[in-house]
Amino acid sequence: MVDFPWVDGVGSLTEGVGIVGYVLETCAPYASAVADLFEGYPAEVQATAAWDEVFDASGVPREVYAALYDALQPLSSGDLAARKAALDRAFRDAGITFILFGEERPFPLDLVPRLLSGPEWDTIERGVVQRVRALEAFLADVYGRAEILDDGVVPRRLVMSSSHFHRAAHGIDPPNGVRCHVSGIDLIRDEQGQFRVLEDNVRVPSGVSYVIENRRAMTRVFPELFATHRVRPVADYASHLLHALRAAAPPEVADPTVVVLTPGIFNSAYFEHALLARQMGVELVEGRDLLVRDNRVTMRTTEGDQPVHVIYRRIDDDWLDPLQFRPESVVGTAGLLNAARAGQVTLANGVGNGVADDKLMYTYVPELIRYYLGEEPILPNVDTYRVEDPDQREYVLDHLDELVVKPVDGSGGKGIVIGPQATDEELATLRAQVTADPRGWIAQRLVRLSTSPTLSGERLGPRHIDLRPFAVNDGSRIWVLPGGLTRVALPRGSFVVNSSQGGGSKDTWVLAPELAEGERPGGPRRPAGGELLVAQGPDIGPDTSGEQQQQQQQNQQRMTLRRGGAPRGGPAHERSEAGRAAARSPERPFAEEDTVRRSLGSDGVPAESANGVPAGSANGVPAGSANGVPAGSTKSISEVVISEVVISEVVSEGLEHRARTERTKRC
């Protein structure tokens, strides 16, 4: 699915002019009444008649959420709003934004995380892996010998009529047999708390960058929550992806070059493309950077054309290769598909994958699992009616106002009609559309998606959520990122979580199982009980405290002197006081020279610096001890002794004599 334009904002954000406006707007009510964040929440949950992630039917927090509830409960909504503002600012500066009405807005992340216990995750993980295996097998079959069609498990006409079935992909044999390098399986939780698959995405699933960025943001905004929870990390996604992509390279290449192919900076998911390329350390290319010649793909670099072996493409099939698909495409590169067929380059994900995540094909996935794997599905589907089937169509048309009707190849929540919330006109239009093109639609029972507390105005309200886990297939193992993207429908009562339709997201925490006693996470580390070697601290510069003391003492003495009898000459300049005082030490002529040089250098206005100092004013200074002369500067002792005469010359004649003094010294 390519449905992450993130094109809509959070309610109050769409109104404000920016962060400042937002804070003022939302903070105002808090000042008067500081409400309990969860006040009225359980009652609202009862009204939605959905499974709530946090509270059970009796209004008590579930075990997995107990610690989170205890941590959030004492917070005021003002706290949350302030953290939210900080978060938005961070997102905006990092460029984690989406564009709405030509304006960039920070990505809407809700601050209350969604938690999954170890056992819950275990089921999801196994179910997702099973599903991806079945889809891989199906794709390999459909673009190969097509046995499943011969066996009549899936009707042939259904596959052939899919708009994403590409004959051009027939016979492209990926080197390690993988077509779904990355897949995103959308899950929902029904009224009984059962996870069900809502749809599969094996074309260009996006959203993983928000998983990574949400986590990074949450650790900054809510560090204390991470102290009380053991959350499995998601930051290593890119390294798994890179491993899978390298594993998919043509076998004869020893050190394959992987690139990420993006449509360009104006694409709504560009941020994600850039993030993945950056975290994998590979080039982010556009179609115009690539060149196919003799079925070999190269990219234009400052050192000439360099070969490319694996392309993680984030461009839809239709635009990928103007030679095979839409000829007007300028974001793709001509000849990519033939290069892939020749085995010179691997495209990830494979071309033509869309046939497997067609929403009508979705209804057959449980059959696929039984057919290819001989297993029962771990994660059930949502009850779905094939409008294409005449009997089921009749039922659907009779119950349009109770069902959810979706176009089979729609994405981004486009075209979905939720029966109970639709007007009569909408239903009439839908009826006409469905009758005209039965192959193009499916209908599903309306599942009340589970709810999770979401900040809305000054307190938390239940909002419907789903979950998109991401699976990466490297050919030998399917790895599922522990977490995934939890999308949330921000308007109250809404079931549409797509960001283009007003959806936000939540950070998804998969809690690590408790460790057995003595077990250490993450493999071997420093042997326990070993002596800790304390290194020597960093070097410290010369101690100047004695110097300071004496210079201050000097000040005091001068003050006393001045009070006792008027000093000769003009007013003293405070800033060169210390230097001048030291310069007067009669026993140490080299010290004079040195300090004069110092005061000349640091002021740049030597004419004033030594002016009118009473000769006896430095009495009582221990000779030479307080001058703070760096050791190196004494090298000039033997070279030159500057007498009182030279100094007074400088004093009387000013700037022009500086040069002469320099010369004298150098001699």
Binding site: G95, I265, E283, D289, A334
Partner: protein
């Protein structure tokens, strides 16, 4: 390094430097108008616009108009706002190779532009100039601290050096007609942050010929034209693969142009510097354009998109 990315980096370097220098130049100009009671504001403004290559403007040209045109004009890449926006657009395309910190700094700078501009309209333009200088300095620091010295950095630094040559020469052009002992020469030095360096070097009052000498020829000061040209030359040589050139010449056009300009300065006497300056500055500016074009055609070459025939021609 992808050609497209290299080009983006080159232009990030140019645009950021342009924003910084323009804010320095404007700051000097606004300051000068305020502190010099005999200055004809309108003609000084016209002169500055001409030097910066902004087309003839009708009507009154006071410092407000100049600030609008060179500071706040949107969509014009020679204004400060335009240059920062263009740099950010380029960085967006090159996010994979600029470090996150560099990107965030540039993006945050861009985000705050409008706010700072509004503030400056109330409190005076210095607020805006100061903001730009501070942010570009931060950016330079981050570039210095977080980018590997690979070709990416080289293209960025090359763009910065070329733009600095161009801008310093424009800065000199804007002051050139002033009285040799005018306060504006001090302002010029201040605007480059060069006043103290100048004083420590010459230890005497500021006058036109020494300022010109310092800003054009000084071997050590990093905003002098000589220094920037020398850096650009070194970078171009590194990009050229460390080739020492043929027996008779250097084949890289850009290297040759920069090298000629640098030697022109390197072996120049200081006596006629002031008289020759107008011509010299013009030559420097055209060298910059020439080098930029040469670098573009050698390293950033791209093909025009293919047009596909949808039918077999008869």
């Amino acid at each position: 390094m992808l050609s497209r990315i290299a080009e983006s980096l080159f232009w990030i370097g140019r645009y950021v430097e342009r924003a910084e220098s323009t804010s320095r130049i404007l700051d000097v100009h606004v300051h000068r108008v305020l502190e010099d009671p005999w200055l004809d504001e309108a003609s000084a403004g016209r002169e500055l616009l001409a030097v910066m290559g902004t087309g003839p403007v009708s009507g009154r040209v006071d410092s407000q108009v100049v600030t609008e045109l060179l500071g706040y004009a949107r969509g014009d890449q020679s204004s400060i706002v335009g240059a920062i926006s263009a740099a950010r657009e380029n960085a967006r395309g090159a996010r994979v190779v600029v470090s996150s910190e560099v990107w965030e700094c540039l993006n945050a700078t861009w985000n705050e532009l409008e706010h700072t501009e509004q503030l400056a309209r109330r409190l005076g333009p210095h607020v805006f100039f100061h903001y730009i200088r501070e942010r570009t300095a931060m950016l330079a620091g981050l570039v210095d601290a977080t980018l590997a010295r690979d070709d990416g950095w080289r293209f960025l630094a090359l763009g910065r050096s070329l733009e600095r040559v161009d801008m310093t020469s424009r800065l000199l052009s804007s002051t050139i007609s002033d009285d040799p002992h005018s306060q504006s020469w001090v302002s010029l030095l201040r605007s480059c942050g060069a006043h103290e360096a100048y004083l420590r070097t010459y230890r005497r009052a500021v006058d036109a010929s020494r300022v010109a000498e310092f800003m054009l020829l000084d071997r050590l000061f990093p905003r002098s034209v000589y220094w920037s040209l020398a850096l650009a030359e070194q970078i171009l040589a590194e990009l050229d693969g460390g080739r020492r050139g043929g027996r008779t010449t250097v084949h890289d056009v850009a290297r040759r142009a920069v090298g000629l300009a640098r030697t022109e300065l390197e072996f120049r006497g200081v006596d006629e510097l002031v008289e020759d300056m107008p011509e010299l500055l013009r030559a420097l500016q055209s060298t910059c354009s020439e080098v930029s074009a040469a670098v573009t055609s050698r390293y950033f070459a791209r093909e025009v998109p293919h047009a596909w025939a949808t039918e077999v021609p008869a």
